[in-house]
């Protein structure tokens, strides 16, 4: 058995239908979020680590323990890997009670030890009252808690979670996450958490691996990874609601800024200086939440982009207001709070000013 706090090392290549899965990363005693659009290969990575798929090349190891190595030919079976796997479907055994489900992975232990462990898991995951129920008789949230208990009670050396809570509502989700993180801290095992929701990625971890088309394209803190999106897809996915093709008009190296013209319009935007020259094309990304709205022309303000436009649409989206504002020929998506909407008394058709800080504008690679 390998020592606790053993790090996970992954290096794998696997041809998939659309692209080649090719990634390498390490995870220590930490929660690492695997983030990316559907079909980016996140689940395939988990399947390779768990042993459900065999990579073409590479090595997967937890500490000294080699789970797979194309070089030596080592390939432990799923059951020998001691890797916990939890997906969106709890996959509870329907013919066994909650208690029998949880003790399933402990059948080789002597009775008293097994019972003690199952009892403590039932307590910890607050499912003791359900212990005699069948999975069909309990709610989705309870089922997922049982599945989590069933996985963790085996004391895996690594935990793989494939959007395990996406079917649950917010309050249940946070309750389960709390239990999960408490366990992770206590056991000090690496945990890979797959999600395609950016909010979840922010709240879960201090480290995010971004996957695109089978490759890890970014690795770092959520803020850093999401604020410098590399591609248009990721920008859209990461909550950059405004993405424009633009042409660099002028660079101002001494000021650290550039002037860009939104392609096909007269609209000029001041952006941070990038490795671009005049006349070169660029893609700009801007979060809807980073744009301020004013009903009068603001004066004495540091923001360098003050644009006038007309409100085309006001839409109430759960928890916030989305505005569509037309500035010349360019439409901006702007998010404000419901309070701000009431306070300003905004109406469709009204003229407003949009205020955009230079550094809110990001360049997309390529």
């Amino acid at each position: 058995m390998s020592a606790p706090h053993a790090a996970l090392r992954v290096e794998l290549q696997l041809p998939l239908q659309q692209f080649q899965l090719q990634c390498s990363f390490q995870a220590r005693n930490e929660v690492v979020v695997l983030f990316g659009p559907s079909g980016a290969g996140k689940t395939s990575v988990l399947d390779c680590i768990a042993g459900f798929r065999r990579p073409l090349n590479g090595q997967i190891a937890i500490g000294e323990r080699i789970l797979f190595s194309s070089e030596s030919g080592a390939n432990l079976s799923v059951r020998q890997r001691r890797v916990g796997y939890l997906s969106q479907q709890p996959a509870l055994f329907p013919h066994l009670s909650v208690r029998q489900n949880i003790e399933y992975g402990l059948l080789d232990l002597p009775g008293p030890v097994r019972n003690a462990r199952v009892d403590s898991a039932l307590e910890r995951f607050r499912i003791a009252p359900l212990s005699g129920s069948r999975p069909q008789g309990i709610s989705g949230g309870e089922q997922q808690r049982v599945a989590l208990a069933r996985t963790l009670v085996c004391e895996p050396e690594l935990l793989l979670l494939d959007e395990p809570l996406s079917a649950l509502d917010l309050s249940l989700k946070s309750l389960l996450l709390e239990t999960l993180f408490e366990w992770q801290r206590e056991k000090g095992i690496p945990m890979l958490y797959v999600t395609h929701e950016q909010q979840e990625a922010y709240s879960l971890s201090r480290r995010v691996l971004v996957m695109e088309k089978g490759c890890v394209v970014a690795d770092g803190e959520p803020r850093q990874v999401f604020s410098a999106p590399a591609s248009r897809e990721r920008a859209a996915l990461s909550g950059y609601e405004n993405i424009f093709d633009a042409v660099v008009e002028e660079t101002h190296p001494s000021l650290g800024t550039m002037t860009c013209r939104v392609a096909g319009t007269d609209l000029l935007l001041e952006s941070p200086l990038a490795q671009k020259t005049g006349g070169e094309a660029a893609s700009l990304a801007l979060r809807a939440g980073d744009i301020l709205v004013a009903t009068a022309l603001p004066t004495g303000i540091s923001a360098r982009n003050v644009l006038t436009g007309q409100i085309k649409l006001i839409e109430d989206q759960a928890g916030m207001i989305e505005l569509r504002v037309l500035c010349g020929k360019t439409e901006f998506c702007v998010h404000i709070t419901r309070g701000a909407l009431q306070n300003l008394g905004l109406q469709t058709g009204q003229s407003v000013w949009l205020i955009i800080k230079t550094h809110s504008i990001q360049f997309l690679r390529g």
Binding site: R79, F93, P94, Y104, G105, L107, D108, R150
Partner: protein, 221 residues
């Protein structure tokens, strides 16, 4: 001397029990293999459904008789031929009823949610444990169905038995053959009694299976 009806019941019980033991591994393989020529094996298994029983009985008679290789081998070690014996009937019935056991078994095993099997493996269970603790219990209704179908099918068997076993009272004269025999001898009363018994047993069996499966499905919902 054993009565035709009891002989039929004994033959059906032995056959369906053997089919349970032999058919489950075949069904498991069919349900889980990725072998591309699987359909060939499926066709062989299904053959007795479309083959006239007399054709099957004829080939078996050739093979199990003193001149057939299996028959000669059997005669060497036991001293009597396989044809016209109870053992011969068992062998013939196993082949004849094979699809009636293997097909429901395969369907039942294949219908078990693969995610449950994956979960079992990731919880450290061996394939053996996964089979007995997860796959088998969840496939049980289909397995019971296969067992009962092969039992009932063997009970009603006629052509193969006649070709292979002849009509030896107490040894190879099963209920269906006795009924035929009695009709030939114009003993309608005995034929009617025997027919009614077979009808009753077959119906009771089907009622029992359906009741069992219904109860179980209800519990799993």
């Amino acid at each position: 001397m054993i009565s035709p009806l009891l002989l039929s019941l004994k033959l059906a019980l032995v056959t369906s029990t053997l089919l349970l033991a032999l058919g489950l591994p075949v069904a498991w393989w069919l349900a889980f293999t990725r072998f591309r020529l699987r359909f060939l094996v499926e066709s062989v298994v299904a053959l007795p459904i479309v083959l006239p029983p007399t054709v099957l009985g004829f080939y078996l008679l050739l093979e199990l008789g003193s001149r057939g290789s299996l028959g000669a081998f059997w005669e060497r070690i036991t001293g009597h031929t396989l044809a016209f014996s109870f053992e011969g009937l068992v062998l013939g019935s196993v082949i004849y009823s094979l699809p009636f056991a293997v097909q429901p078994f395969t369907a039942a095993l294949a219908s078990v949610d693969r995610r449950l099997l994956a979960a079992s493996a990731s919880l450290g269970a061996s394939p053996w444990r996964t089979f007995w603790r997860i796959t088998f219990p969840l496939a049980l209704p289909g397995i019971v169905t296969g067992f009962a179908l092969s039992f009932a099918h063997t009970l009603g068997e006629f052509g193969v038995v006649l070709m292979l076993g002849g009509n030896i009272p107490g040894r190879t004269q099963t209920a269906s053959i006795a009924i035929y025999d009695n009709v030939q001898m114009l003993d309608y009363a005995t034929a009617a009694r025997q027919s009614l018994m077979l009808l009753g047993i077959s119906f009771a069996l089907l009622v029992l299976i359906n009741a069992l499966n219904r109860n179980r499905n209800w519990r799993l919902q």
